[in-house]
């Protein structure tokens, strides 16, 4: 059942279209990740859904009811910002209880206690929010967002301000909490690992348009265009002719990650090393492969390489994606 539906939404700032004719649907209980580079209009789309931006065109509906003109505070949604935006003059418990008080919900202390347990901050209720670390603040912001059981939770880069280790741990927690609470959510991020860890489905948004959507695995395996592939971390895109050299069954172009090209003894293809840069698990290499061109590749730790060395390589299918249409895809104009 489709819960949220944004149809042909357009938002402009000073004549520039930040969100350009975007259509997305979210089914009840689903977590939709909106993935794309910075400045691609993801946050603006999220704010438009929340009611914080005026639409220049299009409509937003909830279970079929048009809510385009409904004021922000009557939508029953929640929005969590990158830096939490906790109320500095209130304690942790008072921040979390804020939407409960607005909704006039009884039994607030118990609800707040439960939410603190849920986000792993039991006993933090009386702290001042200014004393909390960045990760703790985001946990409190999540608890506050979930407190009044919003119909839809909007998350705007909720983990981006945190350091890598914490981000990975919190991404797992976030997924667990969203699933446990059965929350319908739209999650905006520029980090593909984060998007894939948290979302049921992702929509890739570039330059104000949704250019592809599908399950994380679909998008990962079948980027629709070279542009999407590059954004997802594929370093090289090969035309159909060259593509058949690395993936004989490929119907068209393919994209390669560095991990797709492995320097190994006795590999089927000969290549010349252009340069080699040490990495934690060996080396990243730049190679020239006759008939294909320059490629990025990886080498194991045991093989010392220098520019000009002639080596052999094999291609690893796990690092190769065939570009082209999947079942659920919107082709960019």
């Amino acid at each position: 059942m489709i819960a949220l539906s944004a149809e042909s939404v357009t938002v402009s700032f000073d004549g520039t279209r930040a969100v350009d004719d975007v259509t997305i649907d979210v089914t009840a209980g689903e977590v939709l990740g909106i993935l794309g580079p910075s400045g691609g209009g993801k946050s603006t789309l999220l704010r438009a859904i929340a009611g914080l931006e005026r639409l220049d065109a299009g409509r937003v509906s909830w279970h079929g009811d048009d809510i385009t003109a409904l004021p922000v505070h009557r939508r029953g949604f929640a929005l969590m910002f990158q830096d939490g935006q906790l109320f500095p003059h209130r304690t942790v418990a008072q921040n979390i209880a804020y939407p409960l008080r607005i909704a006039g919900i009884a039994d607030q202390p118990a609800r707040v206690g439960g939410l603190l347990d849920l986000v792993g901050l039991a006993g933090f209720g009386d702290r001042r929010v200014t004393e909390l670390s960045g990760g703790e603040q985001q946990r409190v912001a999540l608890a506050r967002s979930l407190a009044a059981k919003p119909r839809l939770l909007l998350l705007d880069e909720p983990l981006s301000a945190l350091d890598r280790e914490l981000r990975e741990r919190l991404a797992g927690d976030l997924r667990r909490i969203l699933v446990e609470t059965g929350t319908t959510a739209v999650f905006v991020t520029h980090d593909q690992d984060e998007a894939f860890a948290v979302s049921d489905r992702v929509a890739v948004m570039i330059a104000g348009r949704v250019v592809q959507s599908g399950t994380p695995a679909d998008v990962w395996r079948r980027p629709a265009t070279a542009q999407i592939a590059r954004f997802l971390g594929y370093t090289t895109v090969l035309d159909p002719h060259a593509a058949r050299r690395v993936d004989p069954g490929a119907p068209g172009a393919v994209a390669l990650r560095a991990a797709a090209v492995v320097v190994t003894d006795g590999g089927p293809v000969t290549a010349t090393v252009v340069r080699s840069t040490p990495a934690v698990d060996g080396a990243r290499v730049r190679l020239v492969v006759p008939g294909i061109g320059e490629l990025d590749g990886v080498a194991g730790a045991g093989i010392p390489l220098a520019a000009g060395d002639v080596v052999t390589v094999r291609f690893d299918a796990a690092g190769i994606a065939r570009l082209g249409a999947t079942a659920e895809m919107e082709v960019p104009v």
Binding site: A50, V72, F77, L79, F87, H89, P99
Partner: protein, 538 residues
Amino acid sequence: MLGAGVPLAFVGIFFAWPVLAMVGRGLFVDGTLDLGGFGDVLTRPRTLRLVALTIGQAALASVICVLLGLPIAHVLYRLRFRGRWMLRALVVLPFVLPTVVVGVAFRTLLRDGGLLGGLRLDGTFAAIMLALVFFNVAVVVRTVGNTWEGLDSRQEEAARVLGAGPVRVWFSVTLPRLAPAITSAASIVFLFCSTAFGVVLVLGGSRFGTIETEIYLLTTQFLDLRAASVLSVMQLVVVVALLLLAARARGRRTAQRRVDAANAVHAPRLGDAPAIAVTLLVAVFLALPIVSLVLRSLQTADGWGLGNYIALGGTGSRNALVVPVWVALGNSLQVAVQATLIAVVIGLAASLVISRRPRSLGLRRALAGFDGALMLPLGVSAVTVGFGFLITLNQPPFDLRSSPVLVPIAQALVALPLVVRTILPVLTGIDGRLRESAAVLGSPPWRVLRDVDLAIVARPVLAASGFAFAVALGEFGATSFLSRPDRPTLPVVIFRLIGLPGGDNFGMALAASVVLAAVTVGIIALVERLRVGTMGAF
């Protein structure tokens, strides 16, 4: 809408209209515009001398205030030591002390037999200069200090590591970042000095004056309204130019990123010694007139004693006063409470409106203009306002001439810019997404206003109230025009007592000044405990 309408109507009726009426009276002769008055008034030798004196005086005082204020701002806002907050309070005190009290205090200090009587400065240009610096050094310290406190000291460290010596770091890294704050503070000091009234009237005698005292003399003594309004127009032009300069400087300053003050301060080092020495000297200088005032108030004809204070229960020698001084204090307190209420309600409403960031560029410009207009009462002659009240508000629809509300309204006008400058920076500092968070969580607009804006601004509002109260209590320029003889305020009474020396009157003026100063000090001490950095900063 209401938020914008009420302050606009207030400033329009009680400021713009009286001022324009006052100005118009000079420019229109028998209903036709006659600019001949300009040439006539501006070529009088006396006018030329006073204009030159006003500008020279204000410029010199501004330079001195900046030179003294910078090292003090460094000590009070960049060094970590015990008693910092007390010193900050001491520095701001002179700014809120009633001008009349400061005038009296300087006279006791400088006259024959005073602590500095040997310097023979009484009635000289230097005396006025000392008093102007005494008043305004706080403006530089607070304004520059408030900026300095938030500057990231890592930029200086980066310059040091790149090989710049301390002097070079100061001129190439620190000073450019402080420049907007210094410009803003200096233009406000210039403004205050060039419109100084009470202190110049008390200390200047007949030889020295400003355009402001001249407007006063022209209207009250010579009844030459035409000349007075020509001077008012000139003053208005200068004031608007200075306020534009200050506003521009403020705009540039807010663009800088602030860091947590805790990361920017350090313990005093040997290199800070000159700045500390300047701070101590200025602290002594700021304390001297007050000490002198208190000492002198305890001297009576029969030696040391409380005689002058006891006399405050009476009406002075030769029946100088209509009511006992204590009654005047009661009047002052009552009027100041009313003025504070008006100033804070109007100032808060105006600040809330100005702090919005509308999408439309036109609306944003309109708000910036509104912000500037609210600063005008800072610089426009209180005498012009006071006299303007008398000529505009004495006929329907606003026949308020005999109404007791005129005095608090005039005082509120004077306090309004200070309230706005205390509250507005805090409001504009609120991240818009904080309001959005509250809205998305279900708060209707009124509730967002209450739970975010008003909750965050509560302390600054309280501080601004105290500040406004202290300023209203000491207001003299407009009040001297408007207070009714049977309901004088304390500053008016003090001025009257100085004007009729003989018997106990001067002693009573001193005792009354001490009382007024003590009340002001008490309020500011309470307000300082709120630790609102924007208070007294421009």
